[in-house]
Amino acid sequence: MTYEERLQNVTVLGAAGKMGSGILLLTALEMADLNLKPEGKGKKFVIHAIDISHEALRGLMKYLRAQVLKAAEKKIVALRSLYKDHSNLIENSEIIDQYVADVISLVMPSTSTEPALESFLIFEAIKEDPELKVKILSYLNTNNPNQPWFFTNTSSIPIGVLDKKAKLGGRIIGFHFYNPPAVQKLVEMIAAKDTLKEVQEFAMTYAKNLRKVVVPSNDVAGFIGNGHFMRDILYATREVEKLQKELGFVEAVYTMNHISQDYLIRPMGIFQLIDYVGVDVCSYIMSVMQSYMKEEALHCPLLDQMLALNVKGGQFSDGSQKDGILKYEKGKVIGVYDPDKKDYLMIADFQHKVNEKLGPMPAVQPWKNIVNNPGKEEILKDYFTTIKNATSPGAELTKAYALKSCEIGIQLVTSKVAFSEKDVNTVLLTGFFHAYGPINDYLK
């Protein structure tokens, strides 16, 4: 079966979710482009969008239409050439409208898993629940006569475990997109011990056509991305436990968020990132990882405490940030949740006092000015040299945090999760939009 043939009948499970909708969008665009090429003309392509509620699927179709329109506008130069034989389509607007219609017509929404039984390729982006995943994959594998290939978007469960428990015979690969898949360049690719070679080859071609940066990861729970992120959370929350004795809880949370964002020049502070992913999701990923890593304590009491108080974060359907550990106004962090008061305390009320304690922050441009700056290497070297030589409490916390982040990265290589230090850095650079990789010499 060729690449094109495999993509003629595809299913996305969990298609209306944050990850599933992005996977569906990118795959539908790839299928439409294959369909429009001379060799693809007349062939039937279909992608089943499966999710549990009609309402969610309606929302998905609305999202798809808007996103396909954006994609079409962006690639109009190529589309004019793909539609050159359609003499009735003359203006850009006509070609764009037709392309949107062509892509949408490939998508068959459904609340039943039945249509997946005819697919050759099945993307799985359902809840991060090992038992549920095994149950569904196993059912589809048993009842689909095509010996389908499974691409799972799990960010924490070992692929080998899913393969074995669902009896997939190596027809599964970890293909972990980053959120949102339509924007994020990174894909972590995880081949299990028995993953078939042709599945891996197909995955590489597919990733290349989607213009993704592929980082291979070994089949160890959490892989590289969450392997770093979850341990980063554990470090930050343990620091909060220490700092709160002196500063108080909300001040300590603010401090570690401030250090991780502004001092470390990251796009978001650590607690904002937890809210972005969802407190519940982070907690769940840790528990899944913990079940495969008995020797290491991967458990975060702070997240438990927040969940018990129904503080969850996550996003609204329009993509805007819900309040979580932090409170937001127009995307900006303005408050921190106080578990004792069961309410948010405004950062403006205590920020000045805390910043004074941290000491003067060395001058540095914000992350957005640095991340794509061609001269960033020099800027970062200078900045971290200043940090290294500074003795303020803020600088000390920054050094310790940066060194811990580096240590976590190196540990991912020594424990054979990542193949190289470069891979770890690539994941943090492209999947987390960091301005620099955690494994660096800045503080040496």
């Binding site: 130069v77 003359i90 203006e91 850009n92």
Partner: protein
């Protein structure tokens, strides 16, 4: 071309801001003034300077594609909206793609020559930021032959002039020409920074030439031009009064605050024909020749020009078409500094289409306003020093791919 049978002047120029990306106050997500507000602002600006609507005999408005950008036609009907005093007076809307503005001026000139009017209020307007650039490209493609749209580029006009640039590179060499494009861009932006209504007035980039040397990318845009080679999408209006000697007296403006139209060339080429030579603007050449002949002067007597640099390559080719440089030597003329504001032939002294902006239907009128300001010493920070032996101003306004051309020769009144 005959000499004009009667003296014709232009006075009381007014420009709105050329609004669009680059202006600090521009926010595509927020509601902005509509077509009628631009018309009103420009019209009232000129009326105020000529003693009000009572002094106006006729009105002409130039607009290219409000029917698509703004879903609005019958624009002559907006004159009474500018001022109630214009109710009941003759008004006309004219169109000639990006050469529309100068056609509106010519309409005014001809009314004065025909003695049907002593004072004509002329406005040019275009409000284009109503659609994304990719759809705007469809609308602007109307300046070409619609039967060629299907085979044209997604960005139709950038595609047309990219083809010209490609042909020019092939014939005369790429490196020097691209450098001249970059210098053209730098001159345009530096001039625009001196003019508060210019779209690039807020531009603060330090090394403009280095920025403009960005390699073109045919996959996302066109093969031979980058975005800095192109004029931007603009909203704006310009107005001016075209008057006779009697009209000048009526509006109470002294002759030295006016410019006199010494001659003009108005030329049309077949829209269905491809350019005879991609490296040459032959219709522009003819229009300028006719204008100079009608004025009875040579290009050597011209001190400054406003020319139609919808693309840098159009600027280079226009210089050659005007006779300022031999074919293939336009880039040298620019790189030697001649067209800069301190050079021997300052061009587009408020930024031109690339720097000031290109609200398509308004551009021709904006050119006249700039020449008026320069020749009467009212150009503020943009003011250039004109040599007494070269006192004439020249404008070149082009519609389509060298199809609809108007060139006008001016002298201080």
């Amino acid at each position: 071309m005959k000499k004009l049978r009667r003296k014709v002047y232009m006075v009381a120029g007014y420009n709105t801001v050329s609004m669009g990306t680059g202006r600090k106050e521009f926010n595509p997500k927020k509601e902005r003034p509509g077509l009628e507000e631009y018309i009103k602002e420009a019209g009232q600006g000129t009326l105020k300077l000529i003693g009000g609507a009572k002094n106006v005999d006729e009105c002409a408005i130039g607009n290219f594609m409000a029917s698509r950008f703004n879903k609005q036609a019958n624009l002559a009907g907006f004159f009474p909206y500018i001022d109630e005093g214009l109710r009941g007076k003759p008004a006309i809307r004219v169109e000639g793609a990006c050469g529309t503005g100068a056609l509106a001026l010519v309409t005014g000139i001809k009314s004065v020559l025909a003695e049907t009017a002593e004072v004509v209020l002329v406005i040019g307007v275009e409000v284009q930021n109503t659609v994304k650039a990719i759809y705007g490209a469809d609308i602007l493609a109307g300046a070409g032959w619609f039967k060629e749209r299907k085979d044209g580029h997604a960005y139709f006009f950038p595609g047309q002039f990219s083809d010209r640039a490609g042909a020019y590179f092939e014939k005369y060499g790429r490196d020097k020409t691209r450098k001249a494009f970059a210098r053209w861009y730098r001159n345009a932006i530096e001039n625009a920074r001196l003019c508060p209504t210019a779209q690039e007035f807020h531009n603060t980039v330090t090394d403009l030439e280095a920025q403009a040397m960005m390699e073109p990318n045919g996959k996302g845009f066109v093969d031979h031009l980058n975005v800095f080679d192109c004029s931007k999408v603009s909203d704006g209006a310009s107005a001016i009064a075209v008057v006779s000697e009697e009209g000048l007296k009526r509006v109470g403006i002294p002759r030295e605050q006016a410019i006199e139209v010494i001659g003009f060339g108005q030329v049309e080429e077949d829209l269905t024909q491809k350019p005879i030579d991609q490296t040459e603007l032959s219709t522009t050449r003819l229009a300028v020749k006719n204008a100079l002949e009608s004025a009875g002067i040579t290009i050597d007597q011209v001190g400054t020009a406003e020319i139609h640099d919808c693309f840098t390559v159009a600027g280079v080719m226009a210089i050659e078409a005007m006779g300022l440089a031999d074919p293939g030597k336009g880039p040298d003329f620019i790189l030697e500094g001649n067209t800069a504001r301190e050079g021997k032939f300052p061009i587009n002294t408020t930024g031109g289409l690339i720097g000031w902006g290109h609200p398509t239907g308004a551009t021709g009128v904006h050119q006249a306003v700039t020449i008026l300001e320069q020749l009467t010493g009212k150009a503020g920070n943009s003011q250039i020093k004109l040599s007494p032996d070269r006192p004439y101003g020249l404008s070149v306004n082009m519609g389509g791919n060298d199809k609809t051309l108007v060139s006008i020769v001016y002298h201080r009144g």
